[in-house]
C-alpha cells in the first residue's frame, strides 16, 4: 500500500525526495540550474566542450548540422556576437575563454590545416598563434587573465603540452 502511495506522487516531487534521501545519507547533491539548462537545451541541437569564464560559458554548439563556437553571457543567458570567428569553411575542435570573456583561444580545422587561434572580442580580430616546434594542436586552456595558454599538441607520435605566453 505504501509503495502504491509513493508511485502515485507527482513526478516533480521525485527529484526532491531523491535529493533529500542522498543528503540524509551524507552525499552532497549538485543543484541543476534549471532555467539556464532549459535555455541551453532549447537553443542548440547539441552542445559540447564547456569552458567557463567568470560570467561566460563558451561551448561548441550545433545549429542545423553545423557546429560553431558560442559564448553565452550567463547574466542575460544570451549568446554574444563573435564577428569574424565562425567561418563556414572551418570546424571548431576546442575552445577556452578568459575570465572576463574578452579573449577566446581555439583550435579549428580548416581544409587540411589545424589552426591555433586567439580571438579578441572587443577588436573582432583573429590572430594565428605559432607553436614553438612543429606539431598539431588539439586542446586549449587559457588562464583567467588571457595571458597564458596551454595547448595539447600531437608531436612525434605522442601528446605534449606547450605553454605560450601571450602579449597583454
Amino acid at each position: 500500500m505504501k509503495d502504491l502511495q509513493l508511485l502515485s506522487l507527482p513526478t516533480g516531487l521525485m527529484p526532491l525526495l531523491l535529493c533529500f534521501g542522498l543528503a540524509a545519507c551524507g552525499r552532497e547533491v549538485m543543484r541543476p540550474m534549471q532555467d539556464l539548462n532549459s535555455s541551453l537545451l532549447q537553443s542548440a541541437s547539441s552542445r559540447r566542450e564547456p569552458a567557463f569564464g567568470r560570467r561566460w560559458l563558451a561551448s561548441l554548439s550545433n545549429y542545423q548540422g553545423r557546429e560553431k563556437i558560442e559564448l553565452l553571457d550567463l547574466r542575460s543567458r544570451r549568446p554574444v556576437p563573435l564577428p569574424g570567428l565562425n567561418r563556414p569553411d572551418s570546424h571548431p575542435i576546442s575552445v577556452s575563454v578568459s575570465a572576463n570573456g574578452e579573449r577566446l583561444a581555439l583550435v579549428r580545422q580548416r581544409g587540411d590545416q589545424t589552426e591555433l587561434l586567439l580571438y579578441q572580442r572587443s577588436l573582432g580580430t583573429v590572430q594565428r598563434l605559432e607553436l614553438s616546434a612543429k606539431g598539431i594542436p588539439r586542446k586549449v586552456s587559457l588562464d583567467g587573465f588571457g595571458r597564458l595558454l596551454a595547448v595539447q599538441v600531437s608531436r612525434d607520435g605522442r601528446w605534449d603540452v606547450d605553454l605560450i605566453r601571450l602579449s597583454s
Binding site: M30, M33, K139, G144, L148, W159, L163
Partner: protein
C-alpha cells in the same frame, strides 16, 4: 616536461597546470606549480583511473575531474585547502563526458549524452564549496583584469 600529457587545464591565476599523464598505463591527473615546476601532491587522485577532463578554480584550491568508480564515470572535486573530496554523482545515473569548473568554483558545467546528442548542463555548487578566491581577493583581482 615529461612523457605523454593530455587535457591541459590552467588555474585562473595561471600559476598551476593540471594535465592527464600516463602512470603505468593509467591516465592520471597530475598538478604542477608553474612557478617552480614542482608536482603538487593530490590526496584523492591516486586511484579510480582513468581520469579525464581536469579543471581548476582561480587559485587552484579546487581540482575537478572525471574518475571511474566501478562501471560508472563520476565527477569528483578535491579541495586542496582542506583535503576534502566531493564526489558529485549526476542525477539519474548519467555519465559526465567533459567538465568545466567556474573560476570561483560556484558552478560546474558538465557535458553529458542526452537522447543521442551532446548536452551541457550547469550545476550550482554554492551550497557545497566555498568560493575561490574569497570575495576580498576577488575584488582585488577584478581591478587588475582587463575591462570586460
Amino acid at each position: 616536461m615529461q612523457r605523454s600529457q593530455q587535457d591541459p587545464a590552467l588555474s585562473g591565476n595561471g600559476k598551476m597546470l593540471a594535465v592527464i599523464v600516463d602512470q603505468r598505463g593509467r591516465p592520471t591527473v597530475q598538478l604542477r606549480d608553474l612557478q617552480n615546476g614542482k608536482i603538487l601532491p593530490l590526496r584523492h587522485f591516486s586511484r579510480h583511473q582513468p581520469h579525464s577532463s581536469p579543471s581548476l578554480s582561480w587559485n587552484g584550491r579546487y581540482l575537478a575531474a572525471i574518475t571511474q568508480r566501478g562501471d560508472r564515470r563520476l565527477t569528483i572535486i578535491e579541495d586542496r585547502l582542506t583535503g576534502r573530496v566531493h564526489p558529485l554523482p549526476l542525477p539519474g545515473g548519467r555519465a559526465p563526458v567533459r567538465l568545466s569548473l567556474a573560476p570561483d568554483a560556484r558552478q560546474l558545467a558538465l557535458q553529458v549524452a542526452y537522447q543521442g546528442h551532446w548536452r551541457i548542463e550547469v550545476f550550482d555548487l554554492s551550497q557545497i564549496l566555498e568560493p575561490d578566491p574569497s570575495s576580498r581577493l576577488r575584488r582585488s583581482i577584478s581591478s587588475t583584469e582587463m575591462g570586460s
